[in-house]
Amino acid sequence: MRITYFLIGLIFVLTFLIGFNASVVAHEYELGVDEDEKYIWKCNVCDEDKMKDLFGSGWNANGTGLFEELEQNTRMKWLIEDTDNDIEIYNSETLEDEKFIQIIYKKWIWTKDDKWGDYDHENEFNLYKNPKNYDDDYIFPNFAPICLPFPIDDYLKNADLYDGYSIDARSIPTISCEIEKNDMKGDYPTEYIKIQAVYNDKGVLKSYKLYINDHRVIVDISLEEEFLFSPIIWMVLIPAIFLIFYLGLIYVVYKKLINN
């Protein structure tokens, strides 16, 4: 008898849940970044000659976004001035007002100086509010945007991106883009390239790697965390500490917790 009541109750709950979900609303895409936040990226690897081979001599000219004046061992800074998740801007291509997600930021171009000094530009960074508005087979400038709205996977999957794009936000939001030789304007790139861009929990570019065949790195850019240690310590000591800590934790689980 109790089981009968339980089943009847369950049917009620399920019916309620179906009704509750009958109208699922479309996603509102929103930025994860906020005003006054600053982001610093570091270029760990940049094979300038190879980049010139791949994309021509203008690969790091003015207006090339992430690549503008890119060199190995330099840093770039963004200071977010303002954000807007729903702004109408006149689009000169479609000749219509269209909705965008916008970031206004101050930018310090890639530099080897430790002191930042005055900013170089104040720029706008715009993404379509509706990802379906991107052109067919769209390739992002620099192949991956510096910032993306949430939910990242849904936003990107709704854009009609170039065939080589592959989105995986299952554990960490990641954009991979494989571009075959001569598949872009001007018969670039001159050989196969692959880009892997990883985003952090605010939707900001955390790691950017540009590879050629067999994952040989040509460009490696990473978001700089506010480190207390030198990069060598970061690359060697921290993994070692984590390795020991991890093994210790496994040992404790194995010896103490499971035994009890």
């Binding site: 979900n21 849904d154 592959s166 299952r170 692959k194 994952h215 496994i250």
Partner: protein, 438 residues
């Protein structure tokens, strides 16, 4: 009717069983509510649901990953299984699918019980309290909640493995051996988790020390093998008719970008790839996959062939080794995949001698780790990757390697154990006879 009576009997007398059932039902209800509300757009069932729809409407685009939130990776015919759920609509489809998973979990418990009773060593307790205890742990396993929350299909694979195992062990007829292979093949058709079990279906043994002779039971081996391959081969027809499917399948599973993205997979292949990613070491993902998988398969096969397993029960160890090879070798091995391994560990616990050190120190501990602690390491991975960029989740890797080591140690020291084991059995039997005489 007998199962129902037995259930009520255990319910009445076993407190832990009551807790396990209630906790499991808790997992079921909470996950149902979560998937239909907050996780409505972030679950695996939605991928299956879409795959069912694409299979039904436009099969050529089955591997067009733009159609999915996360990649659809399974064999093309597997999508056919999801068509009925697609036709029911997402909400009703998921509820039916979820209830089906619950029923399958009940059947898993039944078959797990049956196989444990079948293979249980003579020195184990002859009542079923300990088997029920382990089934309770299986039901309460945290991975069950994760599996339900994702709307995954691991239970179908687990049940198929258990039914196949039951047939292989219980019946010696060729028909049943073929049927067992066929059931395993169907499970691979739905999700290829058990694919690396196929080589271990052979009944093969190399007695290297004594006779240096390779013994193989051809008829049973071939029938099991054919049974497993037959459903898989049906995919070839689809690949032949729609060549685009083959390209998509290979790219999604082996050569594309998604298999190399950073994640918390605990496979050796993924750990190597993550290491190469962090330190900018050039790599070819396919070569790494082939190298790791073939090394593990060779090691596993050597253990399987040369180990002195009991002929009737060697299949248990073979299937377990096969599963471990896949979990350690393929790019993505997630926590919920372990739900297909833990029942095999329970069976091994009951098949090994009751006080075997290997069972105590390795198999049982691994079982508890996979059931209750593994998921914590996944969350830990997320937490520390966010702040410290340390992208390796190797806790489960250690336990999987330990199990492989434990099985090999057990199989190679079997001769020694055999003497002790048989003398122990003799003593127990003599005790029983004395008791009967009294």
């Amino acid at each position: 009717m007998r199962i129902k009576d037995r259930f009520l009997e255990i319910w009445a007398e076993n407190k832990l069983f009551r807790y396990a059932v209630i906790i499991h039902l808790g997992y079921f209800v909470v996950s149902l509510i979560c998937v239909l509300t907050i996780l409505r757009d972030q679950n695996d069932f939605i991928i299956y649901f879409n795959a069912g729809g694409i299979f039904y409407n436009d099969i050529n685009n089955l591997y067009d990953q733009k159609q999915y939130l996360w990649d659809y990776r399974y064999l093309p015919l597997s999508a056919m299984f999801f068509v009925p759920f697609y036709l029911l609509g997402f909400e009703l489809g998921f509820i039916i699918f979820h209830i089906l998973n619950l029923i399958i979990n009940i059947l898993i418990c039944v078959y797990l019980y049956k196989v444990c009773v079948l293979v249980r060593g003579v020195d184990h307790e002859q009542n079923d309290k300990r088997i029920i205890l382990y089934i309770c742990f299986y039901l309460m396993s945290v991975a069950q909640m994760f599996n339900y929350l994702l709307g995954q299909i691991n239970q179908i694979i687990t049940l198929s493995i258990l039914i196949a195992l039951y047939m292989f062990i219980k019946y010696n007829t060729l028909k049943r051996q073929f049927l067992g292979g066929l059931i395993l093949g169907i499970s691979i058709l739905i999700k290829p988790t058990a694919i690396s079990m196929i080589p271990f279906l052979l009944i093969i043994n190399l007695d290297f020390k004594r006779r240096k002779k390779l013994m193989i039971d051809f008829s049973i081996s071939i029938l099991r093998f054919l049974g497993a391959i037959l459903p898989l081969s049906l995919n070839l027809i689809l690949f032949f008719i729609y060549p685009k499917l083959w390209e998509g399948f290979v790219e999604t599973n082996f050569t594309g970008s998604n298999p190399v993205t950073l994640n918390f997979s605990f496979s050796i292949t993924k750990i190597i790839l993550n290491f190469c990613y962090v330190y900018n070491i050039p790599f070819n993902q396919l070569y790494v996959l082939i190298a790791v998988l073939s090394t593990l398969t060779v090691i596993g096969f050597i253990i399987f062939i040369m180990g002195k397993f009991d002929k009737q029960h060697s299949i248990i160890y073979g299937l377990t080794i096969g599963m471990i090879v896949l979990l350690l070798g393929y790019y993505d091995s997630w926590n919920h995949h372990l739900l297909s391994l833990t029942p095999l560990l329970i069976i091994i616990i009951f098949n090994m001698p009751r006080h075997s050190k290997i069972s105590d120190k390795i198999i049982q501990k691994s079982f508890f780790f996979f059931s209750f602690f593994d998921l914590a390491f996944m969350w830990f991975w997320f937490l520390q990757y966010m702040y410290f960029n340390f992208p390796y989740n190797f806790a489960s890797t250690i336990f999987l390697v330990l199990i492989l080591y434990g099985i090999s140690k057990q199989s190679f020291s079997h001769e020694q154990d055999d003497k002790k084991y048989h003398s122990k059995i003799k003593t127990i039997r003599e005790g029983d006879i004395k008791e009967q005489n009294i």
